[in-house]
Amino acid sequence: MSTSIQRGIAAFKQQIDAPIASFFNSCVHCGMCAGACLFYEATNDPKYTPINKLEPMRRVWKQEYTFWGRLAKTLGISKPINDAELNEWQELLYDSCTLCGRCSLVCPVGIDLVYMIRKAREGMVASGHAPKGLKESTSRAMTIGSPMGVTLSTFKKQVQHAEDESGIKIPFDKQGADYLLLMSSAEIMEFPEFIGAMAKIFKQADVSWTFSSEAFEATNSGNQIGSSDLAAELVQRVVDAAEKLQVKNVISPECGHSYTAIRWDGPNLIGRAYKFNVIHVLELLDQLRQEGKIKLEGLDKERLTFHDPCQIVRRGGITQEPRNLINSVSSNFVEMPCSGISNWCCGGGGGVSANPDADELRLKAFAIKKQQLDSAGAKKLVTSCSNCRNMLEDGIEEYEMDIEVIGLTELIADHLKE
């Protein structure tokens, strides 16, 4: 047995806890999870059935943590997993899973499949079976500080642009601010309007806030590739910066996976609770709206719909806030079928967008999203995640659809009362 596979098995073993054992014990192979997964729905290939993606991990559980499995292994009846199998499963655990969590909603025995897929990736990383694209983006995150290679000076240039455009001075490293705002790489590079939008909103609401020059990036590649060690290091950078500045709150940017990493996984990764609160930008905006601190004007009349990012709604519990915000600036908001908790994924979460191996399958799976969008018949598609936004634009172009994608925060900023 190669040392890499031994490391892989050790990593799988380390991840297996009582919930995972209960999940494997309970699965009756009913196959219902298949229909919940966009990759199965778009291809009809049974290998994309969510529970099948966990086959290597199931074998490790069985052989290491069950009486009968250990017996079979000792007698040589069942063989340990090997490199060839893990190689085959790379596509299943990465290219064809966005960690969207839709499968976890449907299983009749209550199996949280996505909880396991995230953990199974630890075994893949340890055994050297993570996709090249994700390895590269993770390494950029560790060395440069951002998966897209955004440096502090690039970020500062983008902030400067926003200052020039808005005429608002944007604070950096302000000690004791109420809020520290984080960004995702995609927002900085592709949707920098977000920076100006936040500056305007905060100015009107008179919020004390700051950026940190030591930690501005919220994207957590370690979480996506499946390496708790790297993920913890990335979270620690933010925690150190926030605690040094003694801010009361850290704002997660729109980006859904950033939110999951900093809000829910972070304390568990670094092994302690934070000394600050984490709030998602949509939660904060809706709170400011309710408190009357931001005043909005003008209602969009064009038919628009909303794409719920998986990590924000299904894995994050933020459903009503974006709707409140949209309804305060639009008079023609329509829901897509299956919106909210069972919304279909954009196809590019969970590291899929950073993994070029997955491009073809991702665009194929977009057919499901297209169906959903078509039934809403909207001209504008609002979302609140820069990664979703990129993926949606990509799919819309590929399928030659006529719908404009806009970010929710920018939409709100556009409707601020002057």
Partner: protein, 220 residues
């Protein structure tokens, strides 16, 4: 050994042995699962009283799911029928109640024979459809292994033999009774060794999922 002596043995000591083996096995399997433990979640929950969401999911996953989550209607309906059917037959058939009374001293009233008879037929039908679907449908066939078919058979046999026993078919009464009881004992002993463990572990898996989602403010 005469048929009568054999019957007395399987009903008495045989049954006791099967039940003890089953209970012992299930306890071992549950312990090997629970002793793996679960780390305390250090993130701040939206609602710290999250255990209730676990119990909520234990219940709600038995209810028909949201319209948007395409549960294959066939799997869903047949699954429903045979699970409820099995429960009714085991718990509300008068001879079963009498057997349980002799064993535990507990007693309750049963359902009329015609109702149990109909339930049994319906249960067998649903199970046959399930089996057919397992073989015929691409996804189910892909996922299924020997153990899935074995579990089906070991669950089907007690129902079938019980039905034949009641209708005095195939074998003389006492012989059929022996076959019926042995099939039940096989089922009991198989529980901790196979996927039939889900009879016990489904409560845990649903609870864990529901609790984890509930503390984030998501009702699953």
């Amino acid at each position: 050994m005469t048929t009568m002596e054999l019957l007395t043995w399987v009903r008495g000591p045989g049954m006791t042995i099967a039940i003890i083996l089953m209970l012992f096995g299930v306890v071992v399997r549950l312990l090997e699962m629970l002793l793996l433990g679960r780390k305390k979640d250090l993130s701040v929950a939206r609602d710290p009283a999250s255990a209730k969401y676990g119990w909520r999911t234990v219940v709600t996953r038995s209810l028909p799911s949201f319209a948007c989550l395409k549960t294959v209607p066939l799997t869903f309906i047949t699954g429903y029928i045979f699970h409820v059917g099995l429960l009714i037959i085991v718990v509300f058939y008068v001879p079963h109640i009498m057997f349980i009374r002799d064993l535990t001293g507990l007693e309750w009233s049963g359902l009329p024979f015609w109702l149990i008879d109909g339930t049994t037929l319906l249960t067998m039908l649903a199970m046959l459809v399930t089996l057919w679907y397992r073989v015929w449908d691409k996804v189910r066939r892909y996922l299924s292994r020997f153990s899935d078919y074995f579990v089906w058979m070991i669950t089907f046999l007690p129902v079938l033999t019980g039905y034949l026993l009641y209708h005095r078919q195939f074998l003389p009464y006492n012989e059929m009774m022996i076959v019926h009881i042995v099939s039940i004992q096989l089922l009991l002993i198989s529980m901790p060794m196979t996927k039939l463990m889900h009879t016990f572990t489904f409560v845990f898996s649903r609870w864990y999922s529901g609790e984890a989602a509930g503390r984030k403010g998501v009702k699953v």
